[in-house]
Amino acid sequence: MKLRSLLPGAVLVLLFFSAALVSYLWTPFDVTLIDIKSRFQSSSAVHWLGTDHYGRDMLSMLMVGARTSIAVAIVAVGIGMLVGVPLGLAAAANRGRFLDEFIMRGNDLVFAFPALLIAIMITAVYGAGALNAIIAIGIFNIPVFARLSRGAALSLWKRDFILAARAAGKGASRISVEHILPNIMNLLIVQGTIQFSLGILAEAGLSFVGLGAQPPIPSWGRMLADSQTLIMTEPQLALYPGLAILLTVLGLNLLGDGLRDWLDPRLRRER
């Protein structure tokens, strides 16, 4: 069994998820507390990862930042799945007909707008905020899931068991829910973890340039942006948030790879 990546992936993901969850109840320090006197402290027993330019505890900031990243990415992937998968299934059920063509052309159109451009347009008109990031990343996720589920559903529609279900008089939507969806679930889960990690990267990027979460809400991208001007004197401020992003994304990707191998019937089937 090739499950080498499943365990480290799951451990990393679990670590950051629990950090985010714990931060709702408890953080070592209050992240809204500004204490200029104790700024730029290095690691100590009190501040494990030191303090930033406002004297805020870095570990607490990272925990609350994990919350922002994960929340934005989860909601964005959720939007992508909830809208994209039904669209993809409907397109596949109506393959070759107008609805299919319409949905797929709509997908192509959305692909012409990278998430950053969508965020830029929204920000230009409505101002910046974490909601922008969610909408921008979410919209970009829709065609990803629509294409994936359409492609996978199309190959299933050619299978004989679907013909048998049609011969039993079942309609297209019932077949989609009963036969197609369960069979593409693995793919969706794996793609979900990939989009989740891309979402975290995108959220960090948007916050980094000021299009995402706004102060005082801590976010990893924002922390990196703040550290940019201080990189000569306080490089450690840039180190921790970057590592947090890297490890979270790495964990999600490993988890996705591991899940793919684990869920793949070809690798599991005993003959």
């Binding site: 070759g96 004989d160 068991f161 013909l163 279900a165 011969a167 079942k170 369960p182 069979n183 019937p265």
Partner: protein, 535 residues
């Protein structure tokens, strides 16, 4: 024989410690044809790949393979590459995927030539053209610039053969070269292979599961099962004596006729088609206007009576599967009428539940016919969806049990998933799914074509028995004439969307009237007679 071209001595093969071949010994001499016969999993293909020394990763080969005086298993990769394609050519089962889709056929044949001969690229193309001509692809009709996707299956197989024989090898290995082809194409390809052997001193190994196919070509036969050679003798002797019990079992299964005792009710037709036309769009959608359509079923009329078994034979693309789908309400119908028990069905509105209760279907591929995520109990009860009132849990359980038992399976199988079953068992489950609502007609679309002969014989018996006990009518769709002959009362021959001949099965097979039917029957390979006692 010391003058043999190829000699395998005690060859054993295991892949990642799973044994595949056990102590295989055989020999081939120049100018002769060796047939290797076996069902799936017999190790016949792996024997071929062992000779080519093209084995998957993790393979461990023992024993000796001597070709033309050279110990093949002792050669290094460079020496082997000089032999492959040059002294030994190989033809594969699946012509649709055996050619590189992004290279022209000329380039693919010429590559072989340029690789082993020091000729210019231009000269290689000239020689490639000559080879293609030799395998029956004249340059005028099939220029070198053609891509594989522009050719039919049979034509592609000719290209593969051209690649294999381009350098006039001493040995040609053909692994199920005709299995994926229609009967008439199969006959043409077999004739071509025979011709190539006769023209030169080339030896050939023909690997197949079909006794009838090898019997016409091979001089010597080897019968394999589970990686071992069970029987080996000159072809005539094998068939005459049927010495080994497995050989005999294969022979009997190949010619097995189930016992049938149905009395068709010829009062009024159960199902009647009049002037049925089905069309579907083909090609790319033009920028303006409508897509071209292809008429797959062209004014077909037929009747099936209760309790009767009707065969529908034809080659691939003749429209028989489209017809089956139209009957099930799965394919749009352009014109014509379908009536059931005298009542005309409204095709456009979709079939009613009452109609769907009467007709069920079994498909060809036992591997794609089932949702891998449902248990067998749920799989076979899917058609119950068309009942007006759903059975209670207890009734359902009893029904699933009795249906599974009637196809030779067990009650406990209801809780298993489909991947736990073999191909033959899956086809039994498919029949159970068709049977569960007690239909009057089951459409069998190539239902036994993917099965090994011994399993096929069992399924044919099951079908005959079910017809007897349940007064079922079958529409038995197949490309395999010998099977249709053994299981049907009447037969229809379909070509290019039309029925070209119809009549009582024995009569049509004994004295075909239509020229196409005659061609089909002439092309179908025949099992030779035996003097051994066959039960």
């Amino acid at each position: 024989m010391s003058d043999s071209l190829l000699q395998l001595n005690g060859v054993s093969l295991s892949i990642y410690d799973t044994p595949i071949l056990h102590d295989v010994s055989l020999q081939v001499s120049s100018g002769s044809v060796l047939g290797i016969i076996g069902e799936s999993g017999s190790g016949k293909s792996m024997t071929a790949f062992s000779i080519m020394q093209l084995l998957p990763a993790g393979s461990e080969l023992r024993g000796s393979i001597v070709f033309d005086g050279v110990q093949l298993d002792a050669l290094d990769e460079t020496q082997l590459c000089n032999i492959r394609g040059n002294d030994i050519g190989m033809v594969f089962q699946e012509p649709m995927t055996a050619l590189n889709p992004v290279q022209t056929i000329g380039a693919q044949v010429a590559e072989s030539i340029a690789l082993h001969k020091s000729v210019s690229a231009k000269e290689a193309l000239v020689q490639a053209a000559a080879v293609l001509e030799r395998v029956g692809l004249p340059n005028k009709a099939f220029p070198l610039s053609r891509y594989p996707h522009e050719l039919s299956g049979g034509q592609r197989q000719r290209v593969v053969i051209a690649i294999a024989v381009a350098l006039e090898p001493k040995l040609l290995i053909a692994d199920e070269p005709t299995t994926a082809l229609d009967v008439t194409t199969q006959a043409e390809i077999l004739n071509l292979l025979k011709k190539l052997v006769d023209e030169s001193d080339m030896a050939m190994i023909l690997i197949t599961h079909d006794l009838a196919v090898v019997s016409e070509v091979a001089d010597h036969l080897v019968i394999m099962r589970h990686g071992r050679i069970l029987d080996s003798a000159p072809t005539r002797q094998i068939f005459n004596e049927l010495k080994h019990p497995y050989t005999k079992a294969l022979y009997t299964a190949s010619s097995h006729s189930p016992e049938r005792a149905t009395q068709p009710d010829t009062q009024a037709p159960l199902l009647e088609l009049t002037g049925l036309v089905c069309e579907y769009p083909v090609g790319q959608r033009p920028i303006f206007g409508k897509r071209k359509t292809f008429r797959a079923v062209d004014e077909v009329s037929l009747a099936i009576y209760a309790g009767e078994s009707v065969g529908l034979v034809g080659e691939s693309g003749c429209g028989k599967s489209t017809l089956a789908r139209a009957l099930l309400g799965l394919s749009p119908v352009k014109a014509g009428q379908i009536s059931l028990r005298g009542e005309t069905l409204s095709i456009d509105a979709g079939f009613s539940r009452a109609v769907r209760r009467e007709m069920q279907v079994v498909f060809q591929d036992p591997y794609s016919s089932f949702n891998p995520r449902h248990r067998v109990g749920r799989l076979i009860s899917e058609p119950l969806h068309v009942l007006d009132s759903q059975p209670s849990a207890a009734e359902l359980k009893a029904l699933i049990r009795s249906t599974l038992e009637s196809v030779g399976l067990d009650e406990v199988d209801a809780d298993k998933y489909i991947h736990e079953f073999s191909g033959g068992q899956r086809q039994r489950i498919a029949i159970a799914r068709a049977l569960i609502i007690r239909p009057a007609l089951i459409i069998l679309d190539e239902a036994v074509s993917a099965l090994d002969v011994s399993v096929r014989a069992q399924i044919l018996d099951l079908l005959a028995e079910l017809a007897n006990t349940h007064a079922l009518a079958y529409l038995f769709i197949s490309h395999d004439l010998s099977v249709v002959r053994r299981i049907t009362d009447r037969v229809l021959v379909m070509k290019n969307g039309s029925i070209v001949e119809r009549g009582d099965t024995e009569q049509v097979f004994a004295s075909p009237q239509n020229s196409y039917t005659k061609n089909l029957l002439a092309a179908a390979p025949q099992l030779p007679a035996t003097s051994a006692q066959v039960i």
